[in-house]
Symmetry: C2
Subunit: 341 residues, 2 copies
């Protein structure tokens, strides 16, 4: 059984969307699991009452699997991360993560301030040895299966070594959560030849050949939507967090542009919504912060109840597959190999 702590106060549509997401989750998930709603209990209780009295009346019988944990402080989207986690030590974010260190919870989910979640997760859960920062790993929708795409913005200046660590982290994620066997890893660059790319990428290309991952060489921007390069399907794509973040936000911005053009051509809204729904990575259930000792899932600020539910499911999968432990072993294993080589 697993206990997932949800930051009830985090996100643009909190606490409505978060509490509703928790109710969807307890209805759909295995009945052994429970959800801890962290935040101002008076606010959460009021929200619960409204939802259980209306749209979510069917969730009433699962009410016993919801635990309310009081946290009086609220971290705002505009708060500076380092200041927020120090000054708001009784915030839903800090309380939720602290419970994991005290073995009172198994995983944490938030749609709140991403910078604060990164900082609090790093400080409270701590990092696996050999890492300097955690990486945000997004599931990237493609024409084939989703790609594990990292880093999505946690590390803006990356060394070649860090790109190699991302490859290891992403490989474990692809195996444990997506069930990919021996996942293929691509390095994002501007040409498939090893000599193409910027200085860091060229260095990383050489290191990745010896990194103990299933490295398939460079991939280009156009391979991402395709889900494959000329060498076959791709499971994991690594890049620095600056490029990754620019690309993901660009991806987000494309849908309104294309939908606008198609609407002008008279294409029905329902068809557009169905087609673009499949591309909406933010609804896929959050992005795990990989590299921390524990489970911390980052959701998009605009998360819907469904996105929150999917993120809770992802947290459960991470707990049940023991992803964190596998990451620790993978990083230590590769470190050991390197040391004896």
């Amino acid at each position: 059984l697993a206990r997932i702590a949800l930051d009830a106060m985090g996100g643009d549509h909190a606490p409505r969307a978060t509490v509703a997401g928790a109710l969807e989750a307890i209805q759909e998930l295995d009945t052994r699991h429970s959800i801890q709603l962290i935040g101002r209990t008076d606010v959460i209780e009021r929200e619960l009452e409204t939802l259980l009295g209306g749209e979510y009346v069917a969730a009433r019988k699962h009410r016993g699997r919801l635990e309310l944990v009081h946290a009086p402080d609220v971290i705002e989207m505009t708060d500076k991360p380092s200041v927020a986690i120090r000054k708001k030590s009784e915030s839903s974010m800090v309380v939720g993560l602290r419970m994991q260190t005290e073995d009172k919870s198994d995983g944490f989910v938030s749609a709140g301030n991403t910078g604060a979640q990164m900082a609090a997760s790093t400080v409270l859960l701590r990092l696996h040895e050999g890492l300097t920062r955690p990486a945000i790993s997004t599931l990237f929708p493609t024409a084939l299966e989703p790609i594990v795409f990292l880093d999505s913005g946690a590390n803006v200046d990356c060394s070649a070594d860090e790109l190699v660590q991302f490859a290891r982290l992403g490989s474990v994620y692809a195996t444990d959560i997506l069930g990919r066997k021996n996942p293929s890893v691509g390095l994002l660059s501007i040409g498939e030849e090893p000599e193409k790319g910027n200085t860091v990428v060229k260095e990383a290309h050489a290191l990745l050949r010896e990194a103990g991952v299933n490295f398939q060489g460079n991939v280009e921007g156009r391979d991402l939507p395709a889900g494959r390069s000329d060498r076959g399907p791709i499971d994991v794509v690594v890049c620095d967090g600056f490029t990754g973040n620019v690309l993901l936000k660009f991806y987000e911005g494309i849908a309104p542009l294309v939908m606008g053009l198609l609407a002008k051509e008279g294409v029905e809204k329902e068809r557009l919504a169905r087609a673009f729904g499949q591309l909406d990575y933010s609804s896929h259930g959050g992005a795990p912060l990989l590299g921390v000792r524990g489970v911390s899932i980052i959701c998009h600020g605009k998360s819907s109840p469904r996105a929150i539910k999917n993120a809770i499911r992802l947290a459960l999968q991470a707990v049940e597959s023991q992803m964190d432990e596998h990451i620790g072993r993978r990083l230590a294993g590769n470190g050991a190999k390197k040391a004896t080589a």
Copy 2:
């Protein structure tokens, strides 16, 4: 009057698409201008005969404005740029650019090997003072007007100073070719705040405030398809050539993915083609290599006759607006200001 040299041998569909593009151009453009077809004259003549005897029979009366210039060597897409321009000194690319230095031609257009065109343009035309490399400037289709987007891949590791130079180059391009008055410049980053971004971007942000361009601060990935940030419409976006190239190729790869999803929803192919045609930046007429002393227009390898025609038109606009001279003055002017400051 202007004479535009076209690399008849360059591109995936050459010489058919290039010669056809030249025929479309001489029919549509002002009759004072002429086009120089550079390449193997026997091959070009055979192609001309076929096209003028069939689909392009209406172009016959303009035949006198086409000049054939023999260049026996052909640079292949797979040739190494530096080797190609040295060993194939009688290639269409080298011959076409050399004519510009000898005042026998006013502009050059090619859909051939981009690396070779960059190298040959830099060596033969030379750079304006203060530049280390030229920049490839793409017109990026948006929901509003196209954005001047640079660098698109010529400079993979950029300094903050280089990003500032791109802003100056792009501003002249936006004014001379697109008619934008006092064009607004955005710096591609991962948040609008000046402290967001990687090391180079943060440094560039500070420099751009004093760079003599209409700097509007950082823009994010999602602002590109929108054509605007919260602060208003954007005319020019600068970024390093690694990020730029990844983004453009990603953009190219999106259309097949989305079209596939929409086709599954039963949306008619014609509607899709019309909507996505507007997003096809490769048909917009090529990307000028900014910073060289002269005019060199890079076309996509897959260019259609229409794309070639548009690139020839762009070359003419660059010649007629004296863009090159304006760039020289702009760079020298800002250099001088800096020296006396």
